[in-house]
Subunit: 232 residues, 2 copies
DNA sequence: GCCTTGACTTGAACATTGTGCAAGTAGCGA
DNA sequence: TCGCTACTTGCACAATGTTCAAGTCAAGGC
């Protein structure tokens, strides 16, 4: 019987679980070791550093995104599906957004996603650099949305970790935020219109609204180009 | 002569300088203390914790953004100006993006910005929740773009801190990234078209392209609504 | 002019965490 | 059985956030 030995995949998998549960600063080598039934430093045989591990984990999760066939469902449906899937993935793994802000990711799983994203916008009719820019536009929008999500996830994690008076802290945070907002006319109006504000998230349906608007804008650009070409 | 004593503003100001220079993980209480000519722990009299300090610093910088008058320059120019200014600000302070991913910000300076942003989109013709959603769309897009910027800033900082073979590491990183990308047809085509790729940033002009597309999309929505109303 | 009070400052600690290193151990081929 | 390679372990150190008791300075009342 072979000694059961750690594998890199196993480590990355466990790291993802830990990251999902405790966030980026919740992951530490000692608890990772405990979860793997090994010494903390055993991990260093398989992985260069904690940063390296996070990058590995942060590539892995891109494989969770489905790649719809734009030829089958239409480019717009495909783009919407990919954006929505990506948003969901980033919401499942809020630590990834934090990691994206401090590390460069160039792993194969992300490359697979990026390549397909390009395919979708090329199917739509964008060529060369424009496909790139169109894809980047939607991508950046999704990233921004996920960033807000990541912050609230971090807050609730901090609260549940510090235990105790989570409700109180939230109420306090909201009260403080509301007090500041009330000094500005439009923010005040918004609060008075919807008094049950969440603590700082994006407005309802903002993601769907924004995505539609962006795709509309891209579609208009395509149409304009087509007209230009037809008139030639 | 009064003893010269620390002030909260002075601390926040110095923290911002340090954050700009060394990034979020480069800021530590001891070097902050040294820069302030005081003991590291003196700061704790004025500020609850490091997190708290970062939130304070992270609100301050929103005041750097100019607020154009949409009635004077037109809503679209105003929106473009605010988005561009915000992007520039986030690029000047890349740590803020990281902070945004892990903390909620509800300070007065950000509120001032948000309120004016709403004003711009209300001037454009969006009412109530729609103004909110339109503003959020552009905001999220800018945030996403800044996130990429933040990651490359963090990399170059890490490189210059670790000193030594920065060029080598960059070349190495790029080589590795390229090697992965070459396995995917569209990424490969992109690389072959523009062999002097930067290490993972957004495509050229992507920000301007995307912003235009988004504003086009929003404008179309306004026009559609206006037509609907006129037809009534 | 002294003294009390409260606003700050300091230095010494402690806990947590990433990581290097030398020594150990298990399995496998010879 | 020997030894080699692939891993694992425990110890240790350095960096860093934070606490706390003790100090120090300035201003106001007497």
């Amino acid at each position: 019987m072979p000694r059961d030995t750690l594998t890199r995949d196993q480590i990355v998998q466990t790291a993802i679980e830990l990251l999902d549960a405790d966030g980026l600063e919740g992951l530490n080598m000692r608890s990772l070791g405990k979860r793997l039934d090994s010494a903390a430093t055993a991990v260093y045989w398989h992985v260069k550093s904690k940063d390296n591990l996070v990058v590995l984990a942060g590539d892995q999760v891109w494989d969770e995104i489905e790649l719809p066939d734009p030829a089958a469902v239409g480019w717009r449906a495909a783009a919407t599906s990919m954006a929505t899937d990506l948003y969901a993935m980033l919401t499942r793994h809020p630590w990834l957004v934090q990691a994206l802000a401090s590390h460069l990711f160039h792993g194969p799983a992300k490359a697979r996603h990026d390549d397909h994203s390009l395919a979708v916008y090329e199917t739509a009719g964008f060529a060369g650099a424009e496909a790139d820019q169109a894809a980047a536009t939607v991508f950046m929008f999704v990233l921004g949305n996920a960033l807000g999500e990541s912050a609230t996830a971090a807050l609730t994690r901090r609260l549940s970790r510090d235990g105790g008076d989570a409700e109180g802290v939230i109420r306090d945070t909201m009260a403080r935020a509301t007090e500041v907002a009330m000094r500005f006319p439009r923010l005040r109006a918004r609060i008075e219109a919807a008094p049950v504000a969440d603590y700082g998230a994006a407005p309802d349906n903002s993601f769907a609204f924004g995505l539609r608007a962006i795709l509309d804008g891209l579609e208009a650009r395509l149409a304009a180009r087509r007209v230009g070409r037809d008139a030639r």
